[in-house]
């Protein structure tokens, strides 16, 4: 069980009677449905640079978002505090979306529902920690990066955390709450040699506290990895240009799935038929080796949630099974309009934003091949193991993702490192080009940020080693 009660009831004295009054105001002009999203969020960030702690920051955000749905229309307003009059005013503003002549929507008195599971059980929340321990993580990172190689000239390490209380109350009678922790540590290095400069970056985190930073996410490990990448780039050659066979390493290269497949399967784009995937359910979009899932239920993962931002439990949703497209990622509005089951993917950045279908942790299941055999099977190609960001044009289906660490493969051997380059492909067809899937699924280290329509949220991706027959590599070397 998470917390037997919500901070909004306990500390802020919000009563069920208040909630009923707000919802009643929200439906006063005849909306079909209304909900309230209470949020109290505390953020910390600390930055180390030039070997000193340059800044420490704390943020406090508190507010309530009021949403009213009438048919396909959404009215939204929010209050920046918990003042009763301000919330009622927001409810009246959001209510304006509905046609005043219609009868008021039905309202069921909200009943508090306890969460049955907790994907991030921790003894203490990030907001309760002192900053001394957090500073120590940064100093360890700085020491380890500088010790890695004398050519590392700059290290910027940052620590951020979030402690987010939410309470969601719906006009169909549910009141649910959650307490969501999130931590992240980033290390950026600049290497300099003979007037040439290169950067390296590594980060990690998850929904937990400081014990997240162990193993691969230990500050020393993150810093060494960041430094290694910066040093490696000093000898990188120009990336090739043109279509070629590409092997993607495990973990973060799963950003391929996020861009090529995931966004295109968000229900809103399909309901509106603006996605290149619209109408492809049941059709073969990938090779039989490909099974892709979105799973918001993995303990302590960055993209996991006990419930989504509409109060519905998160799920494990199979998007593609053995190459065949199975379904979409739904929020409440699209699931109603499309008469499809909820998948627990209604998410929002904060109380001042409208929820929409979003991904959680998106990855491909392992296959049978040994990763080393996959590399050996390539005569001439690219092996890409670390990526920066990616982006997709939902409508044309074209997507990009940018390799920040990649190597040439020549006669089955990994050879020279190449400079960063963007890879571009076609979402609905790229998985047909997958000719081998490794047995080494990894999830990324917990740094993903996904942007959609101006809202950013934490997500994760994952991938086993895979081979793609042909994809266009955007280097400069013809």
């Amino acid at each position: 069980m998470v917390h037997s009660n919500s901070i909004f009831f306990e500390k802020y004295n919000v009563t069920l009677r208040d909630l009923e009054a707000y919802l009643s105001e929200a439906l006063s002009r005849g909306g079909d449905y209304a909900d309230l999203y209470f949020e109290y969020r505390i953020n910390h960030s600390i930055v180390l640079e030039e070997q000193i702690i340059k800044s420490a920051t704390k943020g406090v955000n508190i507010g309530v978002g009021v949403r009213v749905i009438s048919g396909e229309k959404t009215g939204y307003a929010y209050s920046d505090d918990l003042n009763r009059e301000n919330i009622l005013k927001a409810a009246r503003t959001a209510a304006f979306i509905a046609n005043a002549s219609a009868a008021g929507g039905s309202l069921r008195v909200p009943t508090p529902l306890n969460q049955e599971r907790n994907l991030y059980p921790i003894p203490i929340y990030p907001a309760e920690l002192g900053i001394a321990e957090k500073i120590s993580l940064l100093q360890q990172s700085d020491d380890a990066a500088r010790a890695y190689d004398r050519r590392i000239k700059q290290v910027q390490a940052s620590y951020v955390d979030e402690t987010k209380h939410i309470l969601i109350v719906t006009s169909d009678g549910r009141a649910t709450w959650d307490l969501q922790p999130l931590v992240r540590l980033n290390v950026m290095c600049i290497a300099e040699e003979n007037g040439q400069r290169q950067s390296g970056y590594q980060g990690g985190g998850g929904r937990g506290v400081l014990d997240v930073f162990t193993g691969d996410l230990d500050p020393h490990a993150l810093a060494r990895e960041s430094a290694r990448q910066a040093i490696l780039q000093l000898r990188a050659i120009d990336a090739p240009a043109g279509p070629m066979e590409v092997v993607l390493g495990p973990g973060w290269p799963g950003i391929l799935l996020h861009e090529a497949i995931g966004h295109g399967l968000e229900a809103d784009f399909n309901r509106k038929k603006t996605s290149a995937f619209a109408g492809l359910i049941g059709q073969k979009v990938g090779s039989e080796l490909c099974t892709v899932v979105d799973d918001g239920t993995i303990p302590f993962r960055r993209g996991s949630l006990n419930m989504d931002d509409e109060g519905n439990p998160t799920h494990r949703t199979v998007l593609i099974e053995k190459g065949v497209l199975q379904g979409y990622l739904q929020d409440r509005l699209s699931s109603k309009l499309m008469k499809a089951p909820l998948t627990g993917n209604g998410r929002r950045q904060s109380y001042d934003h409208i929820p929409m279908p979003r991904m959680t942790n998106t990855f491909m299941m392992s296959g049978d091949s040994a990763p080393e055999d996959i590399i050996k099977s390539v005569e001439k190609g690219l092996y890409a193991v670390h990526f920066g960001g990616g982006q997709v044009d939902i409508t044309s289906g074209k997507f990009v993702f940018t390799a920040s660490e990649a190597y040439l493969i020549e006669n089955g051997q990994i050879t020279a490192p190449v400079k960063g380059a963007t890879l571009i492909g076609d979402g609905p067809t790229v998985l047909r080009q997958v000719t081998a899937v490794g047995n080494d699924l990894e999830l990324d280290q917990g740094v993903g940020i996904c942007g959609k329509e101006g809202q950013t949220i934490p997500v994760s991706v994952g991938l086993p080693t895979i081979k793609i027959r042909e994809i266009t590599v955007g280097g400069t070397e013809k």
């Binding site: 953020n43 939204y76 400069r197 509106k272 997709v392 400079k419 955007g474 400069t476």
Partner: protein, 449 residues
Amino acid sequence: MIQSLQDIAQHVVDRVKNSGATAADVMIREDDTFSVTVRMAEIETLKEAISRNLMLRVFIGKRTATSHTSDISGAVVDRLVDETVEMARLTSEDESGGLPEPGFFQGHFPDLNLFDPSWERLTPDERISLAVRTEKAAFETDKAVTNSEGASFEYARSRVALANTIGFGGEYAGTSAAVVCVPIAESKGSMQRDYWMSAGRHQRQIETPEEIGRKAADRAIRRLGARKIPTCQVPIVFDPLCARSLLGHIFEAVAGSAIYRRSSFLVDRIGETVASPYVTVVDDARMPGGLGSSPFDDEGTQTQTTPIIEGGVLLNYLQSAYTARKLQSRPTGNGSRAASGVVTIGPTNFYLKAGLYGADEIIRSVKGGLYVVELIGFGVNTVTGDYSRGAVGMWIENGEFKYPVQEVTIAGNLNEMLKNIEMVGNDVTFVGSIAAPTLKIGKMVISGA
């Protein structure tokens, strides 16, 4: 009783003085926003709210900490002041830390024409109709426009107030609005989306809904039937909205914070030729009615017009009080506070000045090349200048558009790209604080089939 934001900021500053801090500043930003999205002639979302953010920065000698809160009630702010002072004790001494020197503040503020009261006279229905008309115009342009991601109208009335412990206090207000249209065109079972937008502080700065809708539709329609082309090295023409992204990369590379970190391809290059002679870039905070204009920056420093590149020669970096001290330079009024309250470097009106040519003349000058209308992805490394992004465009042959192109990348290095700018258009287009005209770059590598 209605308090001005400046009074609230001053009150918090007074409170900090009694808490053990040696210096502090407080900024409060308030945005009264209205936004509507219309899709298929119906309202899809309607959103209205007033949001506030109070950002506090305290110094204890050379140590600093920052905080922010959306709740500006007395009890919350009081507690946050104490916590921020506590955090500052645990950060390191930083020789360059502190408020700007008193000489960089200004007593009276110029009227930069940032506020258009006529927006307030529009009723909600009139505001909604701006979006309705825009989308309607897109659909009426051609029957190939079959679907839409919607048209939106967004409006904000904002106030910014700042006060510090060395006597500075100031407040200004502004309005800003944008109309955006995202139509989808369809032909032979394949879809293309594009957009057009217009933004400004004043109603008269914004194109009519009909113009915006028609341009957006034309842009989507001309992409129908787009194909991949073979890998090649050719001249590239950037339309103003794509050229704007290049200016964004230049901005990142001249920000004082990137310079002292040595994480810029333009480090140590003041006085050098970094671009072709046709390139002149300024950061002009004093442009009347500019989206990025302000009388003082987010530290209270007087704003100015800063030449960045003149005739291809790099003249200045952009500085906050902190980066100026680090780099033994002067603040340029580019201190910018993120929502978290941390001061970084921000652009004001950062743009590449208009050149001699119409966009059509530039296109006519190309024998074989690509006119780029959209760029996607993040493949730009401002430390090295390496550049590789996904592109959509129109293939130009003998000075005319031949067919649309997609699923290709364009790649090069910003150092070379800036030096290879051969023609500069006369069509600088502001939709935000960074802007550019049409630009022609002599050659880049297109990676395709």
